[in-house]
Every structure is written in structure tokens, then in C-alpha cells.
Amino acid sequence: MARKRQAIRDHSAEANLFARRAVVSLLIVIAMLGIVVSNLYVLQVEKHDAYQTRSNGNRIKVLPIAPNRGLIYDRNGILLAENRPVFSLEIIPEEVDDLEATLDSLTSLMDITPEERENFQKTYRGQRRFKPITLRTQLSEQEVALFSAQQHHYDGVSVEARLSRYYPYGETLTHVLGYVAKINKKDLQKLVEAGQEANYAATYDIGKLGVEKYHEEELHGQVGYQQVEVNSQGRIIRTLSIDPPVPGKDIVLNIDLALQLAAKKSLNGQRGTVVVSSPQTGGVLAMYSSPSYDPNLFVHGISSKNYSALLNSPDRPLINRATQGQYPPASTIKPLLGLVGLEDGVITPKTTINDTGRYRLPNVKHVWRDWKKWGHGKVNVVRAVMQSCDTFYYDLAYKLGIDRISESMSEFGFGEYTGVDLYEESDANMPSRGWKRARFNQPWYIGDTIPVGIGQSYWTATPIQLNQAINTLINHGERYVPQIIMGFMGDQGEVIEEPLKTWRPIAVKEKKNWDLMLDAMHKVNHDEEGTGRRSFSDAPYQSGGKSGTAQLFSVAQNESYKEEEVSEHLRDNAMYVAFAPFEQPEVSVAVVVENAGGGSSNAAPVARQVIDFFFRERDFMDPDYVPPEQQGQEVGQ
């Protein structure tokens, strides 16, 4: 120590002072470390469980796995709706160094359109970070290969595959199968209401129409889950456990693809519809509504241009004419009304009238005319069916009265839903006193009843209703629900058939009345005077049928209908119902060709072609069979 300083400084006092301060400092240090430790104790011991949970919550994510949608087969096991992998180009913008340069480069690689780029940018702006954004969907195999070869140049860009619906037969089955499309807000709301949103957590598409919609629940299946460990960027590091999804059930339809194609072909592009079913089960074998459209357009989102073209087309392709088309049934219901007359005892097989081509009621000025200007002469009920005599049925309607017609025809399913497994169904209209009061606030006039006798007036029916009613006649009152679906595919590829569904049967009073009307239908096709003879008399099988020509245009009282003077959309609808073989029918058909004119000349050939094909296929399985007598001949002239 320097002695000079020691004189003015009390060195040991200073040392003591410092020592005390050093000890105080150490105590403060220890106290503060105590605070740190106690805080850590709270975090690591007392709240450990909570933080452990949050830590796991950070790292473990439960990801839903979409179940594979059930496939749809026709009755012969042909795949009608399949799942195909589609590839889309996805980008995680945060993982890309230079987004614009990457987009430019991708554009030159695979012709990304400005629209796709714009959509991408739009999504990017409103999106959560580190979520992949789709730049292009439905990559071609070539594009996938092209990108895969270059992938190492593109950090943050990847090709993702998922399964998506594809309908190999396009427009042929649209109105039967419907289609799936992206789940929208409305669908989501419905799923939430049904408590199904968790089940759809990984699902892109949902059935929007047809079988796809009606059997959505069975087709969809049950969602699965996987527990994965993710890093802070949400990238999956590894899978911890998997609870696999339950795939949707594969559906087997009653539809016969070949017959469906034949039905489509038989309409030859005309507006109209063909419904083919099995009278023995009610199973719908074919159901084509023309014009149709390609359901695949909707799966990946239809462009608004295409959609408005479909929506605004005067031919109304979006409507399923078989189940939603409401047509006056016209003369096709004559066998049914005749049966009701016989069963109620209003007429007998021997009841005849003298048809002069004009029908009048006492004290009513109006004249109802027969389609045959000079009349059919003396007709009983069988001849009235065979020749489609209107006057007989004006009289029958008058005798039965609207109440009895309405009641009995409702029993045959008119004005009621058939229960076909499609949501796209109309119940059409069976008029009654009550209906007219409710609809027009007017009483029912006797004059309203008369045209009901020939299936006109306010009476409308869907082709599937017509087909169902004819089946009921064939089955002597047994009533089947038309079913598009046959059953579900079992594990071994066997079909687990759905039970047949029936409506309450119509009570039979006299079986011979039913047989008489069926016989009259046979005469329509095979008697020399039958209206369908030109189409069916040369058929290699016995059949029954009935034509109908539905007036859409009221001709003034003292004029006659001239086809060429009426605009096309007001021309008569051609209709035909038929079944075969006559004994133990296997197939029944309802045909409507819109604005084609007379039913026997324009709809009957269509029915013939379809039934021919049914038997040809049954024997030969040949979809391109054309009966020789119709080769080179215009259908529906």
C-alpha cells in the first residue's frame, strides 16, 4: 500500500464497507435468483401440465382424411361414376423466394393463363400464411411429368393429387347420376345442421343432383383421422397414428347402361324423354332426358359462361324431363280411365256410343271434338282404347264425374310423388274441385271434366308417373316405387339388394276388367285398327301400348289445328306408353317427344326401338342393334 494515501484514507474501514456491500450484493443476487427460480417453479412444476398440453397442441395436429367416395355401377357392373386422381399445382408463397419470378417461370413451363394467375393472387391476399394455394387444377399427365422433372428448381411449389369424380359416359346419365361439385356455403350450412360437418372435414365435393345427391350419405362414407407431428410452419414431420376412413358404399343401379344408350339414341336428339322400367320390380332400367349436358363440367367448377348457356337454353337441358317434366298425359291414360269406368260399373265391356266426331253436353254450347274429324262410329271401351276415341272418353268422364276420376287416378299415382330415389321430382297435377278452388278460387264446372277424360285440361303428369301407372295396370293393382338403385356392392362383389318398395295396392273388383284393358292395349299395338300398329305389328314379340298426343295449343271452336301454322313450341307432344312381352311383361316404357306431333307416329317408334333393344340386348348384348325395317328411316317424323 502506498503510505501517502494511507494517511488520508482509513483503508480497513473502506475494506469493511466494501465487504459489507459485497455481502449485501450477494444476498440481493441470491434473492433475485430466488425470484427467477420460483417463477420457473410455477412454470415448470405447478403449471407444467397446462404447458405440456399447449406444447402438444403446438406439435400434434389431428388431420382428417377424406373417405373415398363410393363408386356407382350399372346393373351389369359397368362403372358409371369413378374416382380419378386429379393433379393440381400448389404453391406455399412463404416458401418461395421470388414469387413473381417463380410464377413467370411456371407460366412458360405450362401455359398458366392470366386468369389462373389472377385467381392465385386473389386467394394469396386473403389467405392464412403457410397454406398451399392452388395455381392450376386438372394438370395433364404431360404437365405433371414436365413439372416433376423440374421440381428441384421450385421450392415451395408442388403437385398435389387427390381423387375426384369422373363420369365416363358424360351426358348419357346426367339426369340419373347427377354430379358432385365443390361443397359451397349452403351445403356447409346443411351439413352443420345435420351435425355432419366433422365427417366432411376433409371432403372437397358433395352430391348436388341425382343419385349422387340422393344417396350422398351412403356414397360419402366416414371420415378418418391421422395424428401428425408438425413443425411451426405446419409441415408434417411424421405421422403418429392413423384412424383410417371408412370408404363410401359402392352403389349398383337398376339402370342398364346399354339400354340407356339405346334410349338416348332412340330420341335422336329430339327434346323429350324415355323412361324404361321393369314392371316386376319397379326398377328403373333406363331414364334419359333430352337434351342433356356433361356432368363433368360441374365437378371442377363450371365456368359462368357455360353455366348461363345451360341455364338460358330454350331447350332447358337442366331439367330432368322424366321426373320433372309435367305433360298433359293425353290419351295414354285411356286404359286407366276405362278400367275405372268398368270397375265402378259406370260402363260395361258392351257399353257403346256412337261417335260422330263431336261431343256435346245438354244445354252446353261448347263442342268437344274427336281427333278424327268424322268420328269413329260405334265404339265400345276396347275400341275406344285401340283407336283412341276421344268422344267415348268425353262421355265416360261425364259419367264418372271429376271426383271419382280424381280419386281413382290419385290411387294410380297421378298428382303424387312416385317416390323415385331422386330429389328432382315433381308431383305434377291431378285436378280436383278442391284444387281448382285453391288454385283459381273458382268452382269446378262440368265443362272442366270433359277434357279430363282424354288426359287434358288441368291434368299433368310426369313420364315416370305414367310409367308407374301402366306398371300398376300390368300388375293388377300392385304398385311399386320406381327405384333407380338396385342395391349396394358387398365385400365380395355381390350385390346386396335393397328391398322392393311398394305403395298400397289398388283393390281389384273384377280381374277381368284389368285384363280387358291390357288386352285393349295389346290391340293398340297389334290389331289392324290399333293406333300403334305401324310401329308394333311386325314386332317379334307381343306387346301392349297406348299413344297420346297432348295439345299444348287451344284451337278455337270453329277452326282446325294446322301444324304448320303453330309455332314449334306449341305443337303437340307425342307420347307413348308400352310394355312387352304381353304375357308376363318384363319391360315397360314411357316416351315423350316434345312438340313432335302425333304420338302414334312420333313416339311409338321410339318405344319400339327401345323395347326391341331390350330384347336384343337380353339375347345378344349388342348396343348398336338397329331393327332392319327402321334403317335409314327418320325417327319421329
Binding site: L17, F18, R21, A22, N39, Q52
Partner: protein, 371 residues
Amino acid sequence: MKRTQLKQNQSTLLERIHIDGWLLLGLLVLMVVGLYTLYSASGQDMGQMERQFTRLGIAMGVMFVMAQVPPMAYRRLSTYAYIAGLLMLIAVLLFGDVGKGAQRWLDLKFVRFQPSELMKLAVPMMVAWYISKFTLPPKLMQIGIGFALVIVPTILIAKQPDLGTSLLIASSGIFAIFLAGMSWKLIGFVAALAGGFTPIMWFFLMQDYQKQRVTTFLNPESDPLGSGYHIIQSQIAIGSGGLEGKGWLQGTQSQLEFLPERHTDFIFAVFSEEFGLVGVLALLAIYLFIIIRGLIIANRAQDAYSKLLAGSITLTFFVYVFVNMGMVSGLLPVVGVPLPLVSFGGTSMVTLMAGFGILMAIGTQKRFLSR
């Protein structure tokens, strides 16, 4: 070699090269723990490990060189270092380079330099020099001047803005004054004054981002994905570590990158997650050992300047530890203070080790002083 004969039992190779064995032991253990933790925190990045290892080597070299300088020389250098540092701080504010949004660097053509690092040592040296000129305990006037010597560089650094460093520099100077024997009454008064100064700091001195840090600290859950993300993830890491930890390299918060800044300022969260409370207590024991050793060296020093400087360096080291652990565990707002000798990063480590070099010089060269 008379001294060797006087204290024969302590005469070792280490003493001859002016290295304090106990302190060296503590520092080495800490560095090893630090490297292990960094290996995990960096995601087994050998590149980072090499860089850190190089830095530690350089820092050890600096410590060794600083330990050879006689304490008397430090005392004589004090004023020059302080004035030079102060001028450079002003220069930084006027012409400094901007790095990471703060003006901290001075480009001296051949080397980029952070004057604030120099001030971490220059301020306690200057205060110790000034206070030790007079008899202890210091008078009010001397205390006032002492505080002025502290506050000027503190404010200059806070302006850069670098809250963490200004906090460390302020405390290093204040520790010197405290150890000199500032009366408890005055301490109470200054504490009250500092309390009154807080709002002034809030409204006039603190930048928006600093204010944000404080608000976040008070309620991190208010913005869990934004400003609160760091502290929330850090607390999850620490809390989920539990008593025994998830094991080395097994911390999900750090390995799966949920924890931000995990190899720098938040490395303590990685350590806590993987080694648990037990590991943390062991780590704290190492730090405490170094601090106690530092205080012993300070207490044994034979002149006031050395005592004050050694004590200040030791306690400032503690401030690093406390502030870092405090901010990572949510006790304190997030200010950029690394966990000494464990966090990845160069400049502050060199400064720290230079400080330990001075401490060793004081601890091993006192007999030269008494001559």
C-alpha cells in the same frame, strides 16, 4: 520471485500466467454447457457450432491478454477509454451504420465496431476511477457526478436504440457507486427518483417498438400470433420442460421450430425445455459460483479502484443472467440481452470475457500493486 516464496501453497502455473483457476473452471463448465445447448438449439448445425467455438476461442484469448495487464494500467486508462467511448457513441448517432433497424455500428474502414461494447467496460472503469479518488463512502457531490458519468452514455445508447445494452451499462456504473458505500437513505431517494423518471422515459425516450415490448410483456396473450408469440412460445417451452426436462435434443418447441430466436436470446427456453427445473438449478449454480468467485476477487482486491471495478463487472454479469432469464420466462419485458456465454453471438461474448480478463488481472496481480 519473493512472492512465490511468501505464498508457496498458491503458486501454480495458472497464477504465474495470471489466470484465476476457480473462475476459469466456472467459465469453462459454462461454455461446455452452452455448446451442448447450442448444438440442440441450432438444430444440430455444425456450421454454427464451429463459429461459436471460434468465438469462444477468441474470447478466451482476449481474456488471457486482458489478464496480463496490471490493474494500475486499467486505472490510468479509465478516463481515456471513457472519453473515447463517449465520442464514438456520438459519432455513431451522427454517422453510424444501421443494422437491424438500430444505429449501433461504427465503420472504422478496417473494422466495424460497436462503441457500446467498449462502454460496457469503460463506464464501470470511469466511475470506479472517479469514486476511488476520494475516501469512501462517497459524498453526495461525488455520487451526483458518478451518476452523471453513467447517465450520459446510457441515454446515448438508449437512443440508438439499444435498451438491453443501456440497461447493462447503467447498472454497471450504479453497482460501482453502490459498492463504494452510497448511503442507504440516498439509495432510497434515488430509487424514488428513478420511479418518477419512468413515465418520462415512457413518453420521451422509448421508441414505439420498445413500448410495444413492455405492453406485450404485461399481457402476452393479447396478441398471441404477433408480438406476444415469442414470450408465449418461450413459456410453453419452459413449462412443458417440467421438472426433469424432455431430454437433450428432445425439446419439441425448439426442435420443431415453434420457439423463435432459440439459439440467441431465447436459448434459455431451449435449455429449460430439455433439461427441466433440475437442469436450470444446475445452470444457476454455475452462474452463482462464478458470481461468488468474482465477489471474492473483488473483496480481496487491495485498492478501492480494483474492488469497485471487479465488483461491478461481477454484478453486471449477474444482470445479464437475471435479465435474460427474466425476459425469457416472462418476468421482464423482452430486451435484447443474451444469456452470457451460452447464447450464440460474438460481440457481447468478447466483451464479457474481456471483463473476466480484468477480473483475473485484479485477482492475480494485487501483489504487484502493493510494491
